[in-house]
Amino acid sequence: MLASILVLATDAATTATDLLDQAAGDAKTVKNPILPTVNEMFWAAIFFIALWALMKFVLLPRITKVMDGRTDKVRDDLAAADAAEAERVAKLEQYEAGLAGARAEAVAIIEASRAEGDAERRTQIAAAEAEVAAARAEAAAEIADAKARARSELTGSITDIAVGAAEAVIQKPLDRAAQGRIVEDYVNAAGQN
């Protein structure tokens, strides 16, 4: 670092005079590098304004026209898609409403038929029970009838046998009617045991 500074310093010392002599001669022609020069400003203004005019009237309208066209197309397509979606949703709702109606109808039909079946079953059961009760009553009557007949037959025959046996024993006819009553009382008492 020190070496470079030394070289710089000595170089400055030896060449400064030459450079400065030269610079003194050029002092008039050396321009400030910051300031704009007239010719460059002139051409820059010409070319920029030309570009601006071209851009405004020729170049940009073509591009923006296409871009706007595409934007409109995209917007229209999106709107159409939205409309289709809304339609689809509406149809779906309609279908679901129909489905729900059909389902309710089916449920109603099932309920109705079930009620009908119940009623039918109930009447049939009632009819069957009535029939059964009638049959049973008839059977009971028949049984009672048969029992009465059997009892009377039994009473008659027992009376005959008992009266015959007693006549054979005592060798004399008995009052048949009085013996019959005794036998009947006996049979009745036996039937009740």
Binding site: L6, T17, L20, I34
Partner: protein, 93 residues
């Protein structure tokens, strides 16, 4: 150091007052530019850091933050660039 001093005196002997002025101006040009970078350097660092934080917190606002960040950088950077222009003016004019 003694050689440096000799060299400097030799240079001084060879130069007029105007040359002295231009040489010292050339030396100060670097200093001027170096100083001019400090503030904008800190400023731009802080600005971009905060912008990144804002973008990380709210990624949906990233576009707006980025635009504003570039605007802020442009304004902050102007100071450093004026320092650079001063450098050119001191060094070459």
């Amino acid at each position: 150091m003694s050689i440096l001093a000799q060299a400097t005196t030799a240079a001084e002997a060879a130069l007029t007052a105007a040359d002295q002025k231009s040489i010292s101006a050339a030396g100060y040009a670097g200093l001027a530019y170096g100083l001019a970078t400090l503030g904008p350097g800190i400023g731009i660092g802080y600005l971009v850091g905060q912008s990144v934080q804002a973008m990380a917190r709210q990624p949906e606002a990233a576009g707006m933050v980025r635009t504003t960040m570039f605007l802020g950088i442009a304004f902050t950077e102007a100071l450093a660039l004026i320092g650079f222009v001063v450098f050119i003016l001191l060094k070459f004019v």
